[in-house]
Amino acid sequence: MVITVDTLSKHYKTYKKEPGFMGSLKSLVFRKYETVKAVDKISFSIEEGELIGFIGPNGAGKTTTLKCLSGLLYPTSGKVEVLGFTPFDRKPQYLKQIALVMGQKNQLWWDLPAEETFLLNKEIYEIPDEQYKNTVGQLVELLDVKEKLGVQVRKLSLGERMKMELIAALIHTPKVLFLDEPTIGLDVVMQKQLRDFVKNYNELQRSTILLTSHYMEDVRQLAKRVIVIDHGTILYDGKLDNLVKKFASHKLLSVVLDEMVPKEKLEEVGVVVSYEYPKVVIKVKRKDSNDAASLLLKKFPVDDLNIEEPDIEDVIRDVFSTKNG
């Protein structure tokens, strides 16, 4: 196992203030502290070469978990081991094998071309000249940024900057890569480019990648295994396909009608989600899907019928909204 997490917890102490001017004065003397359990007794393990999607709503504990794994935060309790090291010790040998890329934060020097930061990292990570040339050459080609190497970072677009950030983070060819919302704020074309890059990189280098993202497309395209976290606890850890099966309480019957049928009649079968003749989509309970399909075929003029899983985004949304009550 490359990453082992055993009952990891990270708690913070915060206080609440009442709104308004009087609230401000009151908070001077009376303060109500509370403990926020950002991460609460989570456990999981990851093998070498896996690409894991780590998903959850805002405030779920994704970034906190990544920071504990990378060694930035000291856990409140529990055990974490990455590549045989305790991350928080931050030994140089450990740091030379990992990288953390955070979508909205950067390490590039603003007034200089990104290449200068690459050279700085080359010195810091003690990368031999030949290896540096090869690695940077490969990465630049994969990300198609050769023309932009000599341009000041402040003059690059957000997408270009993100690519440079990735190169800067991967110069030392880390074995474990933590990506915290790497596609945030990027347009769809750039998102796809970055996804393709991450996929290729994972295949080429056999590096272990832990990726957090709000965009389900990132997870769908890249991760075979997902860990779903909410309010600091793990809701699900397993294959993406099985996530739908586990949490989706319904299925979708996608129907093409031969003749016009009133919507009310179709509602005898299930909930009509969309009705645009001749295409109709009906939502039915998972355990009733086969019976519902038979009933549709028997009672109505159906030209074509498909039983589909609900969209994963809808499933996740339902999971989180149920949890939040």
């Binding site: 405030g59 970034t63 930035l72 935060l73 931050r90 030379k96 200089l112 700085l120 010195e123 003690e126």
Partner: protein
Amino acid sequence: MNIPELANNCMKHYLHVYRKLVSMNISSLLAYRSAFISNLISSTAWALFIFISIFLLTNKTPVLFGWRREEIILLSAIYSIYYGIFQCIFAKNFGEMAILIDNGEIESFFLKPIDAQFFTSLSKLGITAFIRVPIGIGFMYFFGKQLGISMSFFDGALFIIALCFSLAFLYALWMNVLLCLIWNPRLSNLVEVLFTVSGMSRYPGDMYRMTSEVLMYVLIPLTFTTVVPARILFHTAVWQEYVILIGATMVLYIVARKFWLFAIKHYTSASN
């Protein structure tokens, strides 16, 4: 590999990194000419302000609390020299560190395979602040001549060693104060107060003693950062003061290091 070789390799590694940082800082500064000129003007202005204020204060008084006017000005000159080096090498990093701690963004320094204290303390340079050094040397030479000061090679060596300890003392003092921000990140402007506190070293301890003995003893190590090098120039150096300066610097530095290791354990970065 044996220990001396390891140490040698380690030092080479850090020197290479520092050399790269210096070159990047120079490139960054020269990227915008107007910013370079603007920074140079402001550094020169503040360098001169120290001397203008001391001239105004000592305008009509030849002797103050046992010190001649020229000697007090010389203290300011010495302060300008080591403070100029401090501003050039360290001050900008402290300012940035305060902001990074406040914004929860200092973590990028923690994930490099290089000592984080080294990296955070030395990654940025305030190059134009170095102007204080030649200005200080100029005033020191001029008023030194007025006082009839002559310096042997041995005096020069002692003077430079004393200045090095003054610089290290200032660094350790700033680091100890800055690390308190880990628990109070919103007080990032504490760095600005340190500029004023550092300026207290321009005056001899005798001045503070007149107000309060307690105040003098509290400020002694700070005042020694200028007084000890000055006394070497005046040939009135007292070895006990030298020892106090070195001792205080070493103690403060060790505390700073231990405090750093303790503080980063408690660092809770801001969420994304």
